[in-house]
């Protein structure tokens, strides 16, 4: 996909460019920022992250698995002591809790990886190493006909460098 990337030294310039690009609907905007900033988040206006669902279902699966393994193994080879129930839910809560945390945490990481599309073997077009340092980058996926308009928006907003990539 062809597109245009602009590099910005200043945060407010990058935010202005994002707002302009969103207003003009010139293509999908991706912002590269050395550190997460509320200003950029507000300008992009993305919805809530679905990672929370991975956490929820991972945690529920973990709690179920933790209780299940303890109860199933007790039933598999029952040792009756003092006529008490085979499955003792009070100590088994430790397994339910620990495995819930384990599965919940790992599924959160899986959710992060899937939604962020990492691990990524190659750097996609539009990325520049300076975006992990101190500069902000804006990559716009746009049709060739829109590229000149995007370039002009980026330059007018204060981009220090604008270039076409594909």
């Amino acid at each position: 996909m062809p597109g245009v990337v602009g590099a910005f030294h200043e945060l407010d310039a990058a935010v202005q460019a994002i707002e302009e690009l969103k207003k003009k609907r010139l293509g999908e905007v991706t912002v590269y920022t050395p550190t997460p900033r509320h200003e950029i988040e507000h300008a992009i206006g993305a919805g809530p992250s679905p990672v929370r669902l991975y956490t929820l279902f991972g945690g529920l699966a973990g709690a179920t698995c933790g209780y299940w393994i303890a109860i199933w193994t007790s039933d598999y080879w029952p040792l009756v002591v003092g006529g008490k129930p085979i499955a003792s839910w009070v100590p088994y809560t430790i397994f339910g809790f620990e495995v819930m945390v384990l599965f919940g945490a790992l599924s959160t990481v899986v959710g992060l990886f899937i939604n962020s599309r990492i691990p990524r073997l190659t750097m996609t077009v539009g990325y520049d190493p300076r975006f992990s340092g101190s500069d902000y980058g804006i990559w716009v996926d746009c049709s060739p006909s829109n590229c000149p308009v995007v370039e002009s928006v980026l330059r007018d907003s204060g981009a220090v460098e604008v270039r076409n990539e594909r």
Binding site: L11, E39, E98
Partner: protein
Amino acid sequence: MATMAPPLGEHDEILRRPNIASADVQLPAVKDYEQVDREISATLHPTVAWFIGLGTAIFFLLLGISAWCYQIYSGLGVAGYNPPVMWGVYIITFVFWVGIGHAGTLISAILYLFRAGFRTTIYRCAEAMTVFAVMTAGLFPILHLGRPWKFFWLIPYPNWRYIWPQFKSPLIWDVFAILTYLTVSSTFLFVGLIPDIAVLRDRETNPVRKRILSVLSLGWRNSDREWRHFARAYLFLAAFSTPLVLSVHSVVSFDFAMSLVPGWHTTVFAPYFVAGAIYSGIGMVLTIIIPLRRFFGLKHYVTLNHLDAAAKLALFTSMVVSCAYMEEWFVAWFSGSEFEKAFFANRIWGQWWWASAILYTCNMVLPLTLFSQKLRRNTVWLFIISITINIGMWFERFVIVVPSLSHEFEPWQWTSYRPTWVDYAILAGSFGWFSMWFLLFIKQLPVIAISEVKEILPPKLRRRHDHGIDSTGHHLDFEPSTPGEYD
């Protein structure tokens, strides 16, 4: 070469009012993102002092390994066990290292949820410390086994005639808790490191190292999509880690509290162990971070405000454990149990008076000096206190383990315990193992979180206007809708 902080005179304002809520999130001597990248990357270059430290750590590790080989060859009898005192230095040191491992997750997760700004520059160090401390702790149950090659019998699978481990046993609870904690804290550390590894990748010029960093950074690009999901995932990991911290040492305490042995059979053990673990962990963080900020020239990142806040946390937790000690004495008296009374008399005034004296001096008395702000901001004193915290907490576990076993119900069982050179060598080896991993870590990966430090710095803007951080550590937006903002 790292840029040092300007003379103190320029920060008089900050120093004069160190207790204001936002002081601990400000880094007045760090000006921009480039400075952060430059100075923190500079800490990765090995120095002569680092090689000496690593050599010393490996020497102690080899000492410990040699002693362990001797123990495997000769049997556990060389380790100073004296029936019925069959838990000794290994279990004491196991609990000690698990406790050390608690501060990392406390600082990185609990303080993150509470928006405590002072965590920003010390949490990476604390997280790494956690992982290596738990790795160290995990060795001790194996060292404690007569046949260590059978250690995998503790792992829950049907190891013999389809019999599974006993799920009602605290030892199995321990296996689950420690392995979960090790996995989650390692994951938490690695996830937090991904953006910083990407910074190193983009600055690296050596092609081999760049390739390794590219793999480790998982192709992270700092895109808004990645940050959005990262922030959410980090929050949930913190939310999971918080109860996990509290549960792990509670479960370790059940190893003792589930028995009927005098001094162990008490319901206060779970909160008592957790508070003690956090206290010892903060002590170890201070022991590590104070020399680190000096040798790496990071005094303007880990400021006196940060140390001051950590010292307050140490003071608070020392007072919690002091309450637990006093509660133990009270319950021994109030319970009316002759066994408990006799045991506590023996622990405090009897054969173990010297260990109790060290414990109470280090954990109850000396930390009270941290009420003085002047001493909290004196790094030499703080370092000394951090060492005494480590010593005191090791002796706390000694006083829990040994006096109880040596003074149980039957007087004919009463005995003594004296560690041998094998115990001491393996104890020293554990410090060597821990230090070796930590020293290797600090020269491969950033010891201060680059992206989080950047978060608390004011961003570069076209026009100068007020931008800051409020008392809870949140950014104050620059209000892009303000009329004239872009004029």
